[in-house]
């Protein structure tokens, strides 16, 4: 029941915050924070339960499963479940949700209640996406994320907010329709094969698909998720939406909404379409690599701080696409890690950009520069997350990108080598950003306060999280492992593997029983 409560608390919290605003805007903020706080406690409880569950070897795929009939005649059920893949993403959602509320504490002053209503409803939609086990329900939640997000951008956004909001809406809605068609196609072909017309995930996994029909259905899903991810060439909505959204909106977009795309690829596209999806892998991986390099190039050219961060997301999500379609355990573990770490580090960068904009009312980097002297704490935090973004070892993003590249090396040496060039490009744009914002001569004599208790509190937690994930990522790997293996099993198809090895076949035998031999002897 915890799952249901988590979603219900957000839905109710959103409504209450909307009403509470009538009494005082502060009340709305506290209600939102309270709702997320309850969810955090529930989420931590879920973690404890998960730890007991995995150690007890109880079997079964889902830690918690709720299944109520919804529209039985059409095979639609209200079906939720959580496994090792969903769990970290749920926690990330709540964690970044809290950060989003705190980040908007002073920045949002108009229609505070409605703002928090939208924020909490987006979050509840995202939670729903991460736990829905019925494709109809999944699509419902998918759409639920969309509308409040549209309002967040269109009402509280910056200068070009209407344009950005409509663009966001059209891209996601258009691709969502393709997914709906694909879901229906899947539903009917499964029903036609078995006589059992159902939207249940577990049933649809068994659908026997092949040929052109399978490819088209797979592409329907793929495009929807690729738009959300976003993968090249479906990315143009991202830069405008991220840039124009208010800070909380950017955090939720970059930190969470993008992850639903990655989640969809891992949970649905490859397990359901198996062979078909993995035959498509070279194309998807190529798109991933292009995204890595193209996003980095675009990021480097920007003069708007938020736009730069937004484009860097395209680059980082390219790694996700590459890793997902490499489809081996190393790459997939890296992908999950990348989802979490990118959520945290990019979320932090957006908060930073938002705080700067609140202080100096511009995002133009040409007007910044030399801020280190004025606001050393802010600058230090900015430097830290720039380093996280460029994949410095010791921080979580490095672990993620290393594993993704290591895994995809097995699938394709060429793609991996090209993707690795993205590591160089990341240094170029991340350090260029640090230079233009914090280093160099001051271009305009800004008077701005440094990060105080509220900001440093947020940032310390985010920094601690990234360092923790960089130095001790094992809990995440352990949590995700069995879920990923199950999904790999579902896909029932061999991932790509490069044929480059000369003598690797002998290695496992040699390794067995050779206890750490002395170096060089």
């Amino acid at each position: 029941m915890t799952l249901l409560w988590m979603i219900a608390v957000l839905v109710l919290g959103g409504l209450l915050a909307g009403i509470g605003d009538r009494m005082s805007p502060r009340l709305a903020r506290w209600i939102a924070l309270g709702a997320l706080g309850i969810d955090l406690i529930l989420g931590i409880g879920l973690c404890g339960e998960y730890a007991r569950w995995t150690s007890s070897d109880a079997g079964g795929r889902w830690l918690e499963e709720i299944r109520w009939e919804w529209i039985p005649s059409a095979g639609i059920a209200f079906h939720l479940g959580v496994d090792g893949l969903s769990l970290p993403l749920i926690l990330l959602t709540i964690f970044l949700g809290i950060m989003a509320v705190i980040a908007s504490w002073n920045g949002i002053t108009e229609r505070v209640g409605f703002f928090h209503f939208n924020l909490l409803w987006v979050l509840s939609g995202i939670l729903g996406v991460f736990v829905a086990l019925d494709l109809f329900l999944f699509f419902f939640c998918w759409e639920l994320m969309l509308v409040p997000m549209y309002f967040l951008i269109a009402i509280w956004g910056h200068e070009h907010r209407i344009y950005a909001a409509i663009k966001f809406f059209l891209f996601t809605q258009g691709s969502g329709l393709l997914m709906l068609v694909a879901i229906l196609g899947l539903y009917f072909s499964h029903g036609g094969q078995t006589g059992d017309y159902t939207f249940a995930y577990s049933a649809l996994l068994e659908t026997d698909l092949s040929g052109a029909a399978a490819l088209w259905l797979m592409l329907g899903f793929f495009v929807a998720f690729a738009v959300k991810l976003p993968a090249f060439p479906f990315h143009p909505w991202l830069a405008d939406a991220h840039t124009e959204a208010p800070t909380a909106g950017s955090v939720v977009l970059a930190g969470l909404l993008l992850k639903t795309g990655a989640y969809g690829l891992i949970r649905f596209v490859i397990p359901i379409f198996g062979e078909t999806a993995l035959d498509f892998a070279p194309v998807a991986m190529a798109l991933g690599v292009i995204g890595i390099l193209y996003g980095a190039t675009l990021a480097f050219a920007q003069t708007d701080l938020k736009r730069l961060i937004a484009y860097s997301s395209i680059s980082h999500m390219g790694f996700v696409l590459l890793g997902v379609f490499a489809w081996n355990l190393l790459a997939l573990q890296g992908v999950v890690m990348q989802m979490i770490c990118h959520g945290i580090s990019t979320g932090a960068l957006f908060i930073l950009a938002g705080e700067l904009q609140d202080r100096i009312h511009t995002r133009e980097m040409d007007r910044m520069g030399g801020l280190w002297t004025k606001v050393p704490r802010t600058a230090g935090v900015g430097l830290f997350f720039a380093l996280a973004s460029l994949g410095l070892p010791g921080l979580g993003n490095f672990v993620a990108e290393f594993l993704i590249l290591l895994g995809s090396f097995r699938a394709s040496v060429i793609f991996t080598a090209l993707a690795a060039c993205g590591l160089v490009a990341a240094v170029v744009y991340a350090l260029w950003m640090v230079q233009r914002v914090f280093h160099g001569e001051e271009r305009e004599s800004w008077k701005l306060p440094d990060f105080a208790f509220r900001e440093m509190g947020m940032m310390s937690v985010l920094i601690a999280a990234i360092v923790w994930l960089g130095l001790h990522p094992q809990p995440v790997f352990n949590a995700v492992k069995s879920a990923l293996e199950t999904l790999q099993h579902d896909a029932a198809a061999e991932p790509l593997s490069a044929r480059w090895r000369e003598s690797s076949a002998v290695v496992p035998d040699l390794l067995r029983g050779s206890a750490a031999p002395p170096m060089s002897r």
Partner: protein
């Protein structure tokens, strides 16, 4: 005592944390205490553990310490594990001890700078990462140290962040080395899939058992690792970042860009020497890169005006010697030169720092001169350092290490007269530019107005200690004619194989050494003639068309920067600028535009005029009937 090994890297990290969290509020005294103290503890422990290691060697001549697991996923198993053997011990000692001395020097050198605690925080972080690099027992942890020192190099080159030129130099260093690191990461992947482990010991154990000599995989793996080494150690073709890195404070140049970080590439090759020995082609490449780099950089050092750039090019050149030694399989010779180089190059940089500070941050040697009387102790130590760099015979450490390299190059099956000749030419050039530097900066007429600051006891003390090292560190290893001491190579052979040298007769070895020594003395003489006896000759040569052309070419480091700028930087920035508004977005915007245009077009047909509508209906009917009839 051995159990405290983990404290050696951890202590500087702790210092970093203290300085980052509380540094702004601490008084300078406390900052210096934390900054120097944390590295001091590391140095002390390194010395104690080192002595113990030598006096009472552990079983198998290595120590391991596991500090906990890091990543354990899908067959990949990397831990925080330390590994101490003769090779990492030597590296660790140099890093910790020289690092401590430079910290001590900096506590005085930097005491009038803003950001005192930021400086020591970065320096401590650097030492921590560097010690992690040399002590790592697996490639992933090594990579952590490797990238970490690169980060600190970036932070410290750009320490004076207000000048955009410093920021540019810092970014250039990070980006160029990252190019090499990317190759290295791919090499690590290749090793992982070949052996199923990242543990260095296991890889080295398994490699000869599963790879054939000269197999493609071995060549690829060694070449990719070499990519990383070339970037970090500023060798051809990735050497361009080091001269610009001199934008950082001088102690940074001494610590990072002379004594320790830039030799990480040498360490990497020595550490994974088994892989390189399985790839003879790559070994030849290493030697060729070393020989070419040492000559090109030495030529560049000849014409620089900035004293720190002379030292930077000489660092590139001296590391070229180490690569040359590695390439011919003279592993311990390379490490020996690393040790002596750490002493004399740190000494030279710190001496240059005194001079620069004395003359209001003047870097141009032609605006120095005559400092001998004003800064006598600095002069004395600088001469010792320069003599050691030039490998002045018998009395300097640099002589013994360079002779060992040259002799090994001649006698090794992989070396030969050509590589040896390159080394001797380099030795000649080194003597010329070292002498030129001393002559211009300290002797002759003064070209300055006043001394703004004189070094205090901490700075001079450190110079003296390093000078002693630059003189006597060479006595750990001497040629046959001069006592044949082999303490260093004996010790290194616990970890690295002995160089396979053809047995030369004593007379031929002596002859070779005489020739090399002659080249050095000739170099000193040439510098003396050109700068003291007959400066007009120099002016005539420099004035000629060929002379001035070479001068410009060498001054700009053989125009590598120009080439890279044209070939990579400009195309990339142009492309990025051109595509700032994202051509893909334009396409989608084009679709939107098309929609809007057709909307306007169709809206125009809604005129409200009945005649138009009637005609439209009529025309439509005709068309539909036509279609039905004819299709």
């Amino acid at each position: 005592m051995r159990d405290l090994l983990f404290l050696i890297p951890l202590s500087p990290f702790a210092g970093f944390l203290v300085l980052v969290l509380a540094g702004g509020r601490l008084p300078r005294m406390a900052v210096a205490l934390v900054g120097c103290g944390s590295v001091g503890i590391a140095a002390l422990l390194a010395l104690l553990i080192g002595c113990r290691f030598v006096a009472d060697p552990p079983e198998g001549h290595f120590l391991r310490q596991e500090l906990g697991s890091w990543i354990e996923v899908g067959g990949l198993n990397a831990s925080f594990g330390l590994y101490l053997d003769a090779l990492s011990l030597v590296m660790m000692l140099v890093v910790a001890v020289v690092g401590f001395l430079i910290h001590l020097y900096s506590s005085e050198f930097m005491d009038q700078e803003e950001g005192y605690s930021r400086f020591f925080a970065y320096m401590n972080l650097f030492v921590g990462f560097m010690l992690t690099l040399v002590l790592a027992d697996n490639l992933l942890l090594l990579l952590l140290g490797w990238e970490g020192v690169g980060l600190c190099s970036y932070l410290l080159i750009g320490f004076w962040y207000k000048d955009p030129a410093n920021g540019y130099a810092a970014r250039k260093a990070f980006v160029v080395t990252r190019v090499g690191d990317t190759a290295m990461i791919l090499g690590v992947f290749l090793l992982f899939y070949s052996f199923g482990t990242l543990d260095i010991g296991e890889i080295l154990y398994l490699a000869p058992r599963s790879w054939e000599l000269g197999s493609t995989t071995a060549l690829a793996a060694a070449a990719l690792l070499l990519g990383g080494a070339v970037g970090k150690s500023a060798q051809l073709p990735l050497q361009t970042w080091l001269p610009d890195a001199m934008a950082g404070p001088t102690p940074v140049s001494a610590l990072i860009h002379a004594a320790t970080m830039v030799t990480a590439g040498v360490y990497l090759i020595a550490r994974t020497h088994v892989l390189f020995e399985l790839a003879p082609g790559v070994m030849r490449l290493v030697a060729a890169i070393g020989a070419a780099t040492l000559m090109l950089a030495a030529f560049s050092a000849l014409t620089q005006r900035d004293i720190k750039r002379v030292l930077a090019y000489s660092t590139i050149s001296q590391i070229g010697y180490m690569f040359l030694a590695l390439g011919v399989g003279a592993w311990s010779a390379a490490m020996f030169h690393f040790v002596t180089h750490a002493f004399f190059k740190a000494l030279l940089f710190l001496g240059a720092g005194v001079v620069i500070q004395a003359l209001q941050h003047e870097h141009d040697m032609f605006k120095m001169g005559g400092l001998r009387k004003e800064l006598p102790l600095t002069f004395a130590t600088f001469v010792i350092g320069a003599a050691s760099l030039a490998a002045l015979p018998l009395v300097t450490a640099g002589f013994y290490s360079k002779e060992l390299i040259l002799t090994s190059v001649w006698a090794s099956g992989r070396g030969g007269p050509w590589l040896w000749g390159a080394g001797v030419l380099g030795a000649f050039l080194t003597a010329v530019y070292s002498s030129r530097m001393v002559l211009l900066a300290f002797l002759g007429e003064p070209h300055w107005a006043a001394i703004s600051r004189r070094p205090g006891s901490r700075m001079l003390g450190v110079l003296a200690v390093l000078a002693i090292g630059s003189l006597f560190a060479g006595l750990l290893q001497t040629p046959h004619l001069l006592g044949n001491i082999t303490i260093f190579s004996n010790f290194m052979e616990q970890a690295l194989p002995a160089a396979r040298l053809a047995q030369e007769a004593l007379w031929s070895e002596t002859l070779l050494q005489t020739v090399a020594t002659g080249a050095v003395l000739l170099g000193v003489f040439v510098a003396y003639v050109l700068h003291v006896r007959a400066p007009r000759w120099r002016e005539t040569v420099a004035g000629s068309a060929l002379g001035s052309g070479l001068d410009r070419l060498w001054l700009t480091g053989w125009a590598f920067d120009w080439f890279y700028d044209k070939a990579f930087v400009q195309p990339f920035t142009r492309l990025a600028r051109l595509n700032r508004r994202d051509v893909v977005d334009r396409i989608f915007a084009g679709i939107a535009l098309l929609m809007r245009a057709s909307h306007h077009g169709l809206a125009r047909t809604q005129t409200g005029s009945l005649r138009w509508y009637a005609m439209g209906i009529g025309a439509g009917t005709v068309v539909i009937i036509a279609i039905i009839l004819y299709l």
